[in-house]
Amino acid sequence: MLTIEQAYWLIALFLAGAAILNLRERRWWHAAFWGVLAVLIAGGKFVLAASAAHHPLPAQLAGIGVIALAVLSPRMTRGTLSERDTAEREADALRLRHKLFGPALLIPLVTLLVALFGAYIVVDGVHLFDKTRMTLTGLALACVIALIAALWVTRARPMAGLSEGRRLLDTLGWAALLPLTLAALGGVFAATGVGTAIADLVRLLIPVDNALACVGAFGLGMVLFTVIMGNAFAAFPVLMAGIGIPLLIHRHGADPAILGALGMVTGYCGTLFTPMAANFNIVPVALLELPNQSDVIRAQWKTGALLLAVNLILMYLLIFRF
């Protein structure tokens, strides 16, 4: 059976390979960074199992690993990794043409097929795909198939997969890690009561009898909290418990379905403003080799602001009507 755990092992293997390549080139900081991360990803299941059984030591060691990554990441300068000559790439592009799209499109295509039909594939009475996180398992499988297809189409050596993957990984550098680090911070914030403190602060500041003020506080609170946490999912329960349910639904009679739907997408507007949503706003800066960390946010904040206004108006007009 294919499970998400095997996908994690693949990531760890890739990271370890990148660490070894960097080690051979005496890029010590990069080697250490990817090496530590490989160990954390490979040991993830063990850490969680031990922690669930009240053995804190593996989790504490993982925590030390996270701190080590934080110490290493300022050393992860982009540096110059030799890419293949532009003229050679152009020549290959003219020769291979649309064949190059095939493997690239296999990634979405195989992911899609697994997402749609994975649950029905049975081999020898055993489901081929584990139901938990099946789409992500499908993505991992798609990446392996796409790599094989890419090697076949381009007639590259199999090692090119590792060396070219390493080139992109080092281009990403510490930005590759930021989404994970921020998610971890979200976990810490939740466990230390940051969310409830913010909701209490907001409630201190608004006139609770005024429906418009409550809508505004709820919507802007969702945005503010999403900006801080980088994730509307983390903001939603906090703002709902603090303002949405007690004030808007119980006191002012708002419709819960509309409030829930619009509240969540209002939070998403905040995702467009914040570097904390690193996988959407910071990772592409590294991937596209843009000069400033805020370049993607600068391109999208106006869409976010206009949409925020639309959402707040929709919320005020709709939630008290139905």
Binding site: I11, L112, V144, A156, W174, A184, F189, A191, A261, L272
Partner: protein, 237 residues
């Protein structure tokens, strides 16, 4: 005094805001914020380390996108980006706004069907959309300046984000709707997923309209500055 203690963990938020404002490397800033917040909440060092460790590894699915890199890297080595650029350049009628609006619409439809992982910054924007958008923008007859090229790339990334975010709530079996439903159920309010998903539709449409208009305006700006550059080039000859 107890009130003050209640608000003390907010110091962690302050660390994040200050760190980003001062442009420190975000990874250590975030880790320090977690430690500060934990200490302010009165947790022991051992507890904070364990909390940091478990929170980190339990989110490791966020690194799955790294698995796309070897395949994309091999294809880039054989000229994938160059071919994407050449191909779009050969399609006369595919202008910059048309390309990006088509991508936006496609991404929204895929998200509505729950297929959020199908496209993304690593899978589609870097190898395909960004070079295609550059080629489409250069149809104005003048090459892009370095700044314009960066603007076009950033706008491509932004388009992927907008297309992803504001449609996924329309799909009933996906995270957001189930989270909303589950949260209400915990608080004694029973709702059907479809009731929630339906009300996300107006925002999805508004997102498409707003971002499409912005794409047209952005495309026009690039076009005009290109024509100006071409004129100045001719005048210099």
């Amino acid at each position: 005094m107890t009130a003050l203690l209640h608000y003390l963990p907010l110091l962690g938020v302050l660390v994040v805001v200050a760190g980003f404002a001062l442009r420190f490397n975000p990874v250590p800033v975030v880790v320090v914020a977690g430690i500060v917040s934990g200490l302010a909440a009165g947790k022991s060092v051992g507890d904070i380390l364990a909390l940091l460790g478990t929170s980190f590894v339990s989110e490791r699915a966020l690194l799955l996108y790294l698995l796309t890199l070897p395949a994309i890297g091999v294809l880039e080595r054989a000229g994938l980006r160059e071919h994407a650029r050449n191909w779009i350049a050969s399609l006369r009628s595919l202008t910059f706004p048309r390309l990006l609006i088509a991508y936006l619409g496609l991404r929204q439809i895929l998200s509505m069907l729950g297929l959020t992982g199908v496209a993304g910054q690593a899978q589609t924007v870097r190898p395909l959309l960004a070079p295609m958008a550059e080629a489409a923008a250069e149809k104005r007859g003048a090459p892009l300046s370095m700044e314009e090229r960066n603007d076009v790339r950033a706008f491509s990334a932004a388009t992927d984000n907008v297309g992803l975010f504001f449609s996924e709530d329309v799909f009933i079996a996906l995270g957001a709707v189930l989270l909303i439903q589950g949260f209400y159920a915990q608080h004694g309010i029973e709702l059907q997923p479809l009731q929630i998903a339906l009300w996300a539709l107006p925002t999805a449409i508004a997102a498409f309209v707003i971002h499409a208009i912005r794409t047209v305006l952005f495309g026009r700006r690039i076009l005009h500055s290109g024509m100006q550059a071409a004129r100045e080039g001719q005048a210099a000859d």
